[in-house]
């Protein structure tokens, strides 16, 4: 077994009187796909936002590659190699693929040796390289993202995470807005991340997705980890019982 790359220890988060996370322990080892499940309000999103730096947990520690990251800013966390792909993808749809892969980290060249300009050609080339690595083909790279399909946009968001050497990718409902064929492509992308030894935390409501790609399943309920099991031990029925809470009642 590998050393965990991410280790969440006793993390709690409160919103006013509401306990969103209650002493949560959670870890991820390199090369595994962890599905994070739970009903609405179970604390999944709060947990990933604590990891990605959007929220600062009130209690507990989060270690990424042995470094404490709890309370760091989103850009610091990102620079350490944790890329979060939110449901809304956080893409600038009015710009092209190259601009989006390099969003906020634009490559600069110097015109006449002193005028700093964006190196669009370089960014487009690099975008192609990383898209090729993921075996994604986008017809026109000068095309604005608004003209691409949902799956292609998802692919661009994943490509961006890959390009910046993500050590851990967090995906929030990556297939929710997609048609069936595109859902398959996204699942294939997740598998290809795993093949490159990049762990993925996958939040999903879609049971088929989870069963198709997850190595391990973590179920949250009312701010706590209700169950943590390998995929091989999980059935849809067990998962659902943990999500709704009847597993504890039944025992």
């Amino acid at each position: 077994m590998h050393e965990p790359i991410l280790r969440v220890r006793g993390v709690s988060k409160f919103f006013g009187g509401l306990t969103a996370l209650d002493n949560v322990d959670f870890e991820v080892v390199p090369g595994e796909v962890v599905a994070l499940l739970g009903d609405n309000g179970a604390g999944k999103s709060t947990l990933i936002k604590c990891i990605s730096g959007v929220y600062r947990p009130e209690q507990g520690d989060i270690y990424f590659q042995q470094q404490q990251i709890a309370g760091r800013s989103p850009s610091e966390v990102r620079n350490l190699g944790i890329e979060t792909i939110y449901q809304d993808l956080a893409l600038a749809e009015n710009l092209d693929v190259g601009a989006n892969v390099f969003l906020g980290k634009e490559k600069i060249k110097y015109l006449f040796g002193f005028l700093p300009v964006t190196d669009d050609e370089y960014m487009r080339r690099e975008a192609v390289t990383v898209l090729d690595k993921l075996d994604i083909h986008i017809p026109s790279l000068k095309q604005k993202l608004v003209n691409l399909s949902g799956g292609q946009r998802q692919a661009v968001a994943i490509a961006r995470a890959m390009y910046w050497n993500a050590q851990l990718v967090i995906m929030d409902e990556p297939t929710a807005a997609l048609g069936v064929p595109e859902q398959r492509k996204v699942l294939a992308l997740i598998k290809s991340l795993r093949e490159q030894n990049i762990p993925v935390i996958l939040i999903s409501h879609t049971m088929q997705d989870v069963m198709a790609v997850a190595d391990r399943i973590v179920i949250m309920r009312r701010g706590r980890v209700a169950a943590d099991m390998p995929r091989s031990e999980a059935t849809e029925e067990i998962i659902v019982r943990h999500i709704v809470g009847s597993a504890e009642v039944g025992e």
Partner: protein, 372 residues
């Protein structure tokens, strides 16, 4: 083994639409051209170097304001205060130059100091707008509407409620006029060109034909256009402007300092308005609080006609310049045709609506093309 993800290229079946697409994309250029041809054919005296120089000079005010406004609109904002910022800058410049010259300073340094003072003061409403919008999160419409009133009041306070700054010294006015109404090159029909100043000692018949080829206000505006088009189109700052307008959340998560960026954008808008104000003083040799009042909505119109999306994320400086020229040609052309000046409001109004319709149609066309 993972199945490989393949996302099929979409087929482009609508090559027939290339012409339609071309028209949709460059309609503002075509429209400008069509209007120039129309007025040239129907109006005597329209197709002359003098008149074109006049149109360009007249358009500089709206064009300069539209440059800053383009940045603002690309970030999905609007700046309603720049009309009065133009006035404030012209008043500050006029007062400073007048007082310095009356106090015994040479003309040139007084003009330089007046210009610098005006530009610096003009930045103040921009900074406040930017902080209110970027940091306090007041909607741009409200923040700049408030600033509209504040700057207007401040400008009139500085003229003691008068329409213009009191009498400037004659020697100062002369130099201001030499620049504001002057040209780098004059065309003398049949005799070639003259540099820097309107040629003297010519026969009356020839004098009437002398035309400015490169008026100074146009040169100054062109330099500003080039600089700001470059910043918007080529630099990281420009790229971030589009990102902020396209998806502000994405900009934040990508580590772009959106708050500071918005402050800069409104400062920039105030800056081009400040230049317009100083240029107004040079052209009319007086500072007037209401110098940019009418030009404010024209600058918004120019931005929209130029294809900038009012919802943000899209737009070009070149489009805004074309928009300003369209308004300039319309105004001049209608006067030459002896049409009641009031008609220009109606025509410009129609053009704005057509512009938005064309841009929407163009976006629909683009979607249609890629989803075919």
């Amino acid at each position: 083994m993972a199945e490989k993800a393949k996302i099929q290229p979409r087929q482009n079946r609508l090559s027939r639409t290339t012409l339609v697409e071309f028209v949709a994309q460059s309609w503002s250029y075509l429209f400008l051209l069509a209007m120039v041809i129309f007025f040239s054919v129907t109006g005597t005296g329209f197709f002359t170097v003098n008149n074109f120089a006049n149109i360009f000079v007249t358009s500089t005010l709206v064009a300069l304001m539209a440059i800053g406004q383009t940045y603002v609109v690309i970030t999905a904002g609007i700046d309603l205060s720049i009309g009065w910022t133009v006035g404030l800058a012209s008043v500050i410049a006029a007062r400073t130059m007048r007082d310095l010259v009356n106090g015994g300073m040479e003309i040139a340094p007084a003009m330089l100091l007046g210009t610098v003072a005006a530009l610096l003061v003009a930045l103040i409403p921009g900074i406040i707008n930017g902080i209110l919008i970027g940091r306090v999160k007041i909607p741009p419409f409200i923040a700049t509407l408030g600033m509209f009133g504040i700057v207007r009041g401040a400008a009139f306070l500085l003229t003691d409620g008068q329409q213009v700054v009191g009498q400037l010294p004659d020697n100062l006015r002369e130099v201001l006029r030499a620049i504001g109404s002057g040209s780098l090159v004059y065309l003398i029909p049949g005799q070639g060109v003259a540099w820097f100043a309107r040629p003297e000692g010519l026969e009356p018949a020839v004098i009437r034909g002398v035309a400015p080829l490169l008026p100074y206000p146009v040169i100054i505006t062109a330099v500003i256009v080039v600089i700001f088009a470059f910043i918007l189109g080529r630099t990281k700052f420009g790229r971030h402007t589009y990102v902020v307008g396209g998806n502000q959340d994405a900009a934040v998560r990508a580590g772009i300092n959106v708050k500071n960026h918005l402050v800069w954008v409104y400062v920039l808008s105030a800056f081009t308005a400040g230049i317009a104000g100083v240029l107004y003083l040079f052209r009319f040799t007086s500072g007037a609080p209401q110098a940019g009042e009418a030009a404010l909505l024209q600058s918004v119109a120019a931005v929209v006609i130029g294809g900038t999306n009012l919802f943000g994320g899209e737009g070009k400086i070149s489009g805004a310049v074309i928009g300003a020229l369209i308004i300039g040609v319309l105004q001049t052309g209608l006067v030459i045709l002896n049409v009641d000046a009031v008609w220009q409001f109606i025509v410009v109004g129609v053009v704005i609506i057509v512009a938005v319709l064309v841009n929407q149609a163009q976006a629909a066309l683009e979607r249609l093309k890629t989803n075919a």
